[in-house]
């Protein structure tokens, strides 16, 4: 009898613990594949996220899953790499940016919408299937892309810039005058807050900016001297 009681005391807590863990794992797994839109592949320095505009900002960590309506915010010299769960593309959220991630499942496809409230994003989006969407949205422009790379920027003054290294983008202007346009590879469009827009060939400065957005490899140069050390941290191109 003593032995039975002893076994009961030892086994019962273990069984209860195991049972709860299993429930939690099941719940977690059931969420990710069905509702997740993207996950955080890399963060550096100050990167925060929140589930919606109604919740508080929290620290973003590597591997964090992003759901429909989640936001990512980066601080000075900070970086977040966002990978879409369907493998359709990579967003490099550069410093001082706020990005909202939206995703809607239709049949087997995931229609993605990245709303850039402000800041700079480098993007590399794979070719989408015919009935699949990938959109960048800003307060003034919606850009639909397919197999496109480049950068998109929206300043606090309301200036929209999109510059493409490859692929094309179909642009819908949300301003009072409305309208559509197509941006092609090697070109840039700049749309000011008052609706003026300028299509032009990528300048050297814009090419450099595009290259800058691709630098996500955090490296250090440490200079050690008998008068003290200096540590230079910098973003280097991915090898």
């Amino acid at each position: 009898m003593r032995i039975k009681l002893l076994l009961l005391f030892i086994l019962l807590p273990t069984l209860i613990t195991f049972s709860f863990d299993k429930t939690f794992i099941k719940e977690k797994n059931s969420n990710q594949p069905e509702n997740s839109v993207a996950f955080v592949k890399k963060v550096h320095k100050e990167v925060d996220y929140r589930k919606s505009t109604q919740t508080d900002w929290e620290k973003a960590v590597i591997g964090m899953v992003l759901y429909n309506g989640n936001e990512i915010k980066t601080g000075l010299k900070s970086l977040a790499l966002i990978h879409f769960t369907d493998g359709s593309g990579l967003l490099r959220v550069r410093e001082n940016s706020i990005l909202h991630i939206y995703g809607e499942k239709k049949n087997k496809n995931l229609n993605k919408n990245a709303f850039l409230q402000k800041g700079l994003i480098g993007f590399d989006v794979k070719k989408q299937s015919e009935d699949e969407e990938f959109k960048f949205t800003t307060p003034t422009v919606v850009a639909s892309i397919r197999g496109t790379s480049g950068f998109i920027e929206y300043t606090e003054e309301g200036t929209f810039t999109m510059s493409l290294d490859s692929g094309t983008a179909l642009l819908n202007f949300l301003g009072p005058q409305g309208g559509e346009g197509t941006l092609t590879e090697g070109n840039t469009v700049v749309i000011t807050s008052d609706g003026n827009f300028d299509f032009h060939q990528q300048t050297d400065e814009e090419k450099n900016k595009s290259e800058e957005t691709k630098r996500t490899n955090v490296k250090k140069l440490i200079i050690r001297t008998n008068q003290g050390n200096v540590e230079v941290e910098y973003y280097a191109p991915e090898k």
Partner: protein
């Protein structure tokens, strides 16, 4: 008898006075002729074993026929700072006064040397220059047979055998503050003005190529007779920090029928940052100057100055990456190039104490 004595004395006085007047009237005159722009030092040598001396000086002694001794003294003004220095002196044995030339002294039987002496240090220096340059002062004293002074003549020879100017500042391979770059050079006697030229020196470009290119930083600017200037006052283009500059100075010397420009040996220096305090004599690794410029404003000024003035030298620095792996100097330069060209990629620069 008393009258005879008085008359004799009177005549003696007259005769002596006449002779004295004769002696007092003896004159010596120098005539310098010919183009002295390219004369050889041999013109000054009166040694018997020297031959083929150039004839440049005529000595006229009047009246001819009296027994005289001639003394010659040569002084040389190398530069204004050193003043005139005696190069040599000679004195002849008594000879019958006549007109003669410098190439006859000591070689013609009637004009023989009694004594001669030379300052060996100065003569060697002049000989090393090959051709005399500067100002030579010649003084000829005329004495009678008894060694009594009769007359003298002197003249100056300005030799337009100038050597090119030599730049004394900035020192070669030095680092200069772009706010003010003092350039000075040795005075070239006979130069009517100086021209300054400078240019950026590109990698793999020779000094001469840089100075002969069409778009000079300082384009043959005539600065008059001054021998020191602030280079930044004569720029034809913008002077950029952290660049390599080649500099030369030309002395303009007028010749019969034209002028000649004598160019100094070029000097190469690097421009530093505006905040630098002084030029540095010691050789400083230019890559560390670049590093200092890159770090300016990001770490404390004392560290920057130590990099710039060589207190922290390349061999006292170890470069490592984020994993502690040692980087060779060429890796450091490659990274520095990247950082300089991509300042926006720099995330942070932190100085960690000693």
């Amino acid at each position: 008898m008393r009258i005879v004595n008085i008359l004799f004395t009177f005549l003696l006085i007259i005769i002596l006075d006449i002779n004295s007047l004769k002696a007092q009237n003896a004159t010596i005159t120098l005539n310098i002729f010919g183009d002295l722009s390219t004369i050889d030092f041999a013109a000054f040598a009166v040694e018997e074993n020297l031959e083929n001396q150039p004839r440049m000086l005529q000595v006229i002694i009047n009246p001819p026929g009296m027994e005289v001794v001639v003394e010659g003294i040569f002084f040389w003004l190398r530069d204004r700072a050193s003043g005139f220095q005696q190069v040599g002196r000679f004195k002849t044995k008594p000879f019958t006064a006549r007109t003669f030339y410098n190439d006859e002294i000591g070689k013609i039987s009637d004009i023989q040397l009694e004594e001669s002496s030379y300052n060996s240090d100065l003569t060697n220096e002049i000989l090393e220059k090959g051709k005399p340059s500067g100002i030579f002062q010649i003084k000829f004293n005329l004495y009678d047979k008894q060694g009594r002074y009769l007359s003298s003549a002197e003249d100056q020879l300005v030799f337009l055998n100038p050597t090119p100017p030599s730049i004394t500042s900035p020192p070669d391979k030095s680092v200069q503050d772009i706010g003010s770059i003092l350039v000075s050079w040795d005075e070239v006697l006979g130069a009517t003005s100086y021209k300054v030229l400078a240019n950026y020196l590109k990698p793999n470009e020779s000094d001469e190529q840089a100075l002969n290119s069409g778009n000079l930083l300082v384009n043959n600017r005539d600065v008059g007779k001054q021998t020191n200037i602030d280079l930044t006052k004569y720029l034809d283009r913008e002077l950029i920090a952290d660049t390599v500059i080649v500099l030369a100075v030309k002395a303009v010397v007028h010749r019969p029928g034209g002028y000649e420009e004598l160019m100094s040996k070029p000097v190469v220096f690097r421009t530093g940052n505006q905040s630098m305090q002084s030029t540095e004599q010691k050789e400083i690794n230019p890559e560390l100057i670049r590093l200092a410029n890159f770090l300016t404003g990001k770490v404390d000024d004392a560290f920057i100055m130590k990099l710039k003035n060589g207190e922290i030298s390349a061999d006292q620095i170890q470069f490592t990456d984020e994993n502690g792996n040692t980087l060779v100097f060429s890796d450091f330069i490659r990274i520095l190039n990247f950082l300089e060209q991509n300042l926006s990629s720099v995330i942070s620069v932190q100085q960690i104490g000693r």
